[in-house]
């Protein structure tokens, strides 16, 4: 389970049925997401032209994607010129293989990791373990997930589903320490002590990237705890795995991105630490740097004119926090390291719409639009959801019902006939009545004595 991946093992509705039963989870999530949403509203309100900033963000990501080949080639050239090595991985397996190969070439059996959802996407930890290499998560939440052998349930706060008492019990069981209290500060102190020596000893680190800038060749990692700085600075060898959609064309674009990302993500004006580096710097930080450019389905998404906007995503997780579905089911119901509204469109596109569980994800939305409103790069998630629903194979019973409805709706004489004598109303209500999930929690509407058009025609007489 650890590390995650993006292949749901059951349909969203089946998975959600399980997670909805967990009242502690719903309570933890509800509290956490409400807290962050209200903080987010405050820091967003400080930006006078937030809507304009969102537009700028969406346009610069679109530009980056429109000239992706050129941007990636310039990035490669700049990284190599600065003493780094660039690898291209078409698939998850290739990316894992490259990391393992680099580790082996340095006789490294333990690597420290900065939180990286991309590495969770490719199931790096399990892949390295199969080759005898241990990957140690150093972000507090990822460490919690790793110790609990649990998968992340949120992009930003992977252990959002656990409360302080559960985390305290976990630390006591797995790290052999006694926690004085369940206070988050005390638990963070335990993580600090546990990891400090490991940072000082680590020979190799693996990170993701929040952005790279083509024109300069620099890579950026945005974080809060300083575990990122530890990993990016102290080991001799650094490997960064980056989805190809993360490249920005220009250095100045970092300003727009950094104005949008922390506010949307942690609801702060700025996150505590952002590290930016280019290749290797003699006498400062890792002296060997590898950048792995990962496709793993992204070019397929790029080829779809409607789905393409999904690649604007900067992984802020604002859409998760505002989503009424996510707030109740939690991230695990999505069966992928990309949960919530963005996951509901990204996972099935990365895997292909024929994936029988992933293709239930576009239906995991009431289309309320809160995600689109919150998205800092204006991904029209409801539009993409509806579009992807259209690309999903339908079950025969359902499609015959929709065909019948279409047949009736496409001719007003048929429609009027169906309305006569309450027939359509009765059939809608009895149709709903057949669906147990509906009737368990809802009473049927009452069918009126006559339709509107009957009233209208009588009125005219």
């Amino acid at each position: 389970m650890s590390g995650g991946g993006i292949r749901p093992s059951m349909s969203f509705s089946d998975a959600a049925r399980e997670t909805l039963k967990n009242r502690t989870l719903r309570h933890n999530l509800g509290f956490a997401t409400r807290t962050i949403c209200s903080k987010r509203e405050k820091v967003v309100a400080e930006i006078a032209d937030w809507e304009q900033t969102r537009t700028a963000g969406s346009m610069l990501k679109d530009e980056a994607l429109a000239n992706l080949e050129e941007n990636l080639l310039i990035l490669e050239e700049k990284v190599v010129a600065a003493g780094g090595k660039v690898h291209w991985a078409a698939t998850a397996t290739q990316a894992v293989e490259i990391v393992a190969m680099i580790a082996k070439s340095h006789q490294v059996s333990k690597v420290v990791k900065v939180k990286s959802i991309t590495s969770d996407e490719i199931e790096l930890n399990d892949g390295l373990a199969a080759q005898g290499i241990t990957a140690l998560e150093t972000d507090l939440a990822e460490l919690i997930c790793q110790l609990a052998d649990d998968s992340p349930s949120h992009i930003l706060v992977p252990a959002i589903h656990k409360n302080r008492d559960e985390i305290r019990a976990l630390f006591e069981a797995k790290l052999g320490v006694r926690a004085e209290t369940s206070e988050p500060a005390a638990l963070a102190e335990i993580a600090r002590t546990h990891l400090r020596q490991k940072f000082l000893e680590a020979k190799m680190a693996v990170s993701g990237a929040n952005f790279a800038v083509a024109e300069t060749g620099c890579i950026g990692v945005v974080e809060s705890e300083g575990n990122g700085r530890m990993c990016l600075t102290l080991p001799e060898v650094l490997v960064t795995i980056m989805g190809i959609e993360k490249v920005l064309p220009k250095w100045e674009d970092v300003a727009t991105l950094m104005r949008l990302l922390p506010r949307s993500s942690t609801a702060e004006r700025m996150n505590p630490y952002t590290s930016i580096w280019t290749g290797v710097t003699p006498g400062d930080g890792p002296q060997e740097f590898h950048l792995i450019l990962l496709d793993n389905g992204r070019t397929t998404v790029l080829a779809d004119a409607v789905g393409r906007q999904t690649l604007r995503c900067i992984r802020c997780s604002a859409c998760l926090n505002v989503c009424p579905v996510y707030q109740r089911t939690g991230g695990h119901a999505y069966g992928s390291v990309y949960p919530g509204p963005i996951g509901a469109i990204l996972t099935p596109q990365l895997l292909g719409m024929e994936h029988k569980n992933a293709n239930t994800l576009p239906f995991a939305s009431s289309m309320c639009g809160a995600c689109y409103e919150a998205c800092p790069v204006k991904i029209n998630i409801p539009e993409v959801l509806a579009y992807l629903r259209g690309k999903t194979a339908k079950n025969p019973a359902e499609s015959s019902a929709f065909r019948a409805a279409f047949w009736m709706m496409s001719d007003h004489r048929r429609f009027s006939a169906a309305l006569k004598g309450r027939r359509l109303g009765v059939s809608i209500v009895s149709g709903l009545g057949l669906v147990k999930g509906w009737t368990d929690s809802r009473e049927m509407p009452e069918v009126p004595a006559e339709s509107f058009r009957t009233w209208w025609s009588k009125r005219g007489q």
Binding site: A16, S365, G369, L388, G425, I428
Partner: protein, 244 residues
Amino acid sequence: MTIQLFITCLNDALYPGTGVATTEILERLGHSVEFDPRQTCCGQMHLNSGYTDEAIQLAERWLDIYEDAECIVSPSGSCVANVREMFGHAGHWTQNSNLIERAAKMDGKLFELSEFILKFGGMDVLNPYFPHRVTYHPTCHGARALGLKDSPEQLLRQVQGLDFVELSEKWQCCGFGGTFSLKNSDTSAAMLQDKCETICALDVEYCVAIDNSCLMHIGGGLRKDGKVPKVIHLAEVLASQEPK
């Protein structure tokens, strides 16, 4: 002005009272109201459920009926949003530039009822009377897709005798979402339960909205638990008059 009613299939079949109230309101405001009996459905249900081809045929059919109208008013936020937003999207998905152009021409001609009243005024003429304790649920398509936010609350606050109470967590979806409530009924029910709890906590007699689909869902949830608040469409509140 001559106004074409876009009553919507759901209202026609299940909520004729909303259509009647809409007609009365528009006539009291001095407009000439017409109902084209060729109207059926705008295709929202098909589009949202992934039946894009059928939805586009229904969209084109809808445009055939309405594109020459001077002004169209509908008592449904989600159906207006479907025409305003999703027709164009569907045109874009299928590279149907004709559909995109025809849909774009509806801008400024098609209004949701509360949007129409907020834009052109007339609350003084209507002078509605509804002596009840009431809250308002801003339905998602009305609030976000149409950008109305909670502006229909302004209309309720002007109703004689009405005791308005603001709903907490009002931006939360009720969990209807059309076929979402069928395909993911457990998640939908969890959302509905929370919505019903926030409504009941207010000790109101009515929950008002501008979409009968959402009200059908919320009302179904309230009645299932034998709860007191009833649901009512905004049109029916605005059409209510003080007994003479």
